[in-house]
Structures are given as structure tokens and as C-alpha cells.
Amino acid sequence: LRSEASENACEIAIGGLQDGLRRVRVARAKLTARFVADLFNAAGIGEWDPDTYRFVNIYNPDAALRWDSARRFSCSAERMTHPATGLNWAGASLAAALLGARLPRCAEWTLYTAPATAWLCTDPEGFYSLTNVAQSVGDTTPVETYPLIGGLFDPLGNACEWMEEPLPGPDAPASLERYVAGASWSTPRSVLETTLMRGKWGRVGTRSIGTRVLWDGPVD
């Protein structure tokens, strides 16, 4: 699973950051529901508390991932190649760590989605016609449905992405708010054109947030 994820990454030079020019590899696509189910099952990760969840919201009836009667993660046949929505921040971080990767930082996200944001600014109708946002479909779609933009699938659509860093502030750990970047299948155009990054309580996994992982350093 590690090599499958890593081989499907796009190498991008990240410049202009505090620590200067460096190279990272960004996953071409967000992690899919089937991939995360396989990953967590292989690692022995589970949702054992009968009342709530640690990593994956299994209580939303429309959840991409289920915790089934065999006490394993699974997903429906229709959702296998959709983004693994429903992971909270801890679940997203755990998936990244299991892959030897990490979640992107906001500055990195801004750089790797620059081709998409530029397209949105210059040709919004063209952009919308080839992106799953604003309920044009009404649900998530398989992660490779739309064409690559800047080497990535769904850089600005289908599902938002958890970022690594918390919002600055005096919050206690329990109330930690994490950055979520991008847009999902349900993000209205009126939001997409004004707000691409906002805070979200890291404890909740929702139907609109997925996970893209990133590796430091170039391809081996």
C-alpha cells in the first residue's frame, strides 16, 4: 500500500517557503475509501468505542467508510474509488503516517493548487465544467473522474483537504481547530471564489473533507 501510494505521486518543487526551495511529492489523488479501508485494516486500526469514533466517522448514514459486523473497515462498491471522506484530522494524519507521508501545510497547498486557482480566476466556466463543486453532481465522484490540473486530480473539488497545522490561537487541545483547504462537491461557487481555506474542529469527520498526502524529498 505504501509503494502504491508513493508511486502515484507527483513531484513538485516548492519554493518561496521559509526554509527555501525544496522538493516534495504530492499524491496525485486524494486517498480513496477502499485504500483507507485496506490501510487501516492492515494496520489493525479500528473503532472500538461503542458510542463515538477516534478516526473515522462511521455514524453518518452516507459515510464513505463503514465499520462492519466483522469489525473491519469496508466501503460500498459504489464508493470504493471515491475520496475517503469521514476521516477526522487524527484519522487523516494517521493514514499519512502509515504511508510514511504527512499532511500538507497551507503554504504547500497554495503552491500545488496554483494552476487550478489560476484557471478558476481566468476561465471560471471552463473550470466549473471540469470540476466537481457546487453540487453539479450532488455527491463525491471517483477521484480520477476529471482531468489532471497541474499534475493533480481534484486540486479544487470533490473533497476539501485536511492541512497539517492548527489555526493560531489560545485553544486547548480539545478544541483544536485545523485548517481545511479547497472545495468539495457541495461547496457553493460563492464560497469557492472567496474562501479557499478555513478552520474546522479537528475532531469531526465530515462528508466534504478528504485527505491528500505528501512526502518530503524527491523521488528515490
Partner: protein, 275 residues
Amino acid sequence: MSRPFLLLGHHRSGTNFVNDLLQIHPDCECLNEPLSMHSTFWMQRDLIAWGEQDYDPDHMHRDLEGHPGAATYLADLHSYLHAAPTGRIRGAKETLLFEKLGWLHRFAPAFQVIILVRDPRAVASSIIGRNMQHLWAYDDRITPRIARTAAFAERSREDVLAQVVWSWKERLALALSQSALFDCHILRLEDLVAQPRSTLAGLMGFLGRDVDCAQMAFMQESRLELGATTYSWSRTEQAVLDGWKTRLSEGDVRFIERNVVGEMAQFGYVPRLAV
């Protein structure tokens, strides 16, 4: 520090739409059903009343004593909602808790409450049309309670319309009976759709904020016919206001009006003369 808010509405009353509308404001964060869609604990206790006297300073509620996962989550949620950075406001939307507002007042007295109301004919039409009564286990939770309500005797207790009308009537009564404990704002979905500017200004004013231009842009966008699904924020004005008229039979409409005519008149869905 900003006071958190609770947006409370019956199933299929436009709570997702209002949740998104609040969330779009740059100062607002509105969590979507952080209890009922993130745990089994609360769904299993739907319509089990918790009053002010049930608040337990040690365990929040005695029922939480044997559920450490649910208790920790609830404590974390409380911390999160009350720790908004300066200038921001946090809240949550729920379709449960109508019968727990007394307990909530002791647990989180700073809460401001928004009660979202929609015409029960539209609520019934939406639930029945999508067969959603199973999602909220109406057979298990509503049917046994209907048995104790003589007014519903003309329909079988398993009748979905009777379940929905009972649910709408009882949940609204439970919420209104406790609303004086809080700063409370009553919001009609129909007003928001038909007079968006003034109604939204009233809602945001209640939360101490001005309407943001992105919210008005979203109101416009929400009227377009997009790829609308069950939980979609996009509906035409006609679908929201009048869709039930073609989906409910005359007998269904008469049944609803007969059983909740007082409440409908209170919220302007039928003339007061009809009471």
C-alpha cells in the same frame, strides 16, 4: 468571548441549508449535527427528556457515567464551542435535543438558541417522499409514543404521516416550552426563502453579526436547479414553498391541519380563524 449557538430544527426543515448559510459567514463556524451524526449515544436517547434537574456536575448527566467515549467527546465539544477566537462565533446545528434543552441550559448556559420552523405539510411531504422515516427510526421512537395520544387515533400508529405529524408537534412543543431559558430566535424557513435579505439580517443580528455579502450570493445560488440530492442546499423557491401541494393528498392535508392547526396558526401557516 462569543457565546456559542445551537440551531435546532425538525428533520427536513432546511437545517442543512441554514447550517451552510451560517457557515459561509467568515466569522461563523457551524458544526453539522456533531452529536446525532457523530455518535449512536444521542440517537438512542432521542425523545428521552433531560431536564435541568438531571444535570450532574460530575458526569454532566448520570447516563454518561457508563459511556466514557461519549462523555469525553461531549466535554471536548463544549470546550471547542466556548473557545472561539476573538471576533468569531461557533455553534452547532442539531435535529435532536428538543427534549433536552432544560439539561442543556445547565450544561452550557451561555448558549443562544435558534429554533428553525417549517410548515408541517412540507416537512411531511419531504420525509414521506424520500422514505426517510427509517433513517430516524420513527417506528421505534415515535410509534410507541403515539399510542398515548388520542388525537391520532384515526390513523394507525405505524402510519408514517401520523408519525411525522406527531414528531413535528411534540418536538416543537418541547423546544418552545424551554425556550425562555435561553436567548432564543425563532426562524421560519419560508421567510428566509421568500424574504431573504430582511430575514437573514434578523438572524445574523441575533448572533451579533452583519450579513456578509457571501451569504447573499449563496442565497441567490441556492435557488438554481443544480444536482440537488437529499441533503442539498439548492432548491427552487417554488419547491421549498409549494412542493408539498402536489405531493400530499387532500386527506393527508386535512389530517395534518386537524392535528396541528393551533401550531400552524401560531406560525402563520394557516389563518388564525382556522383554529
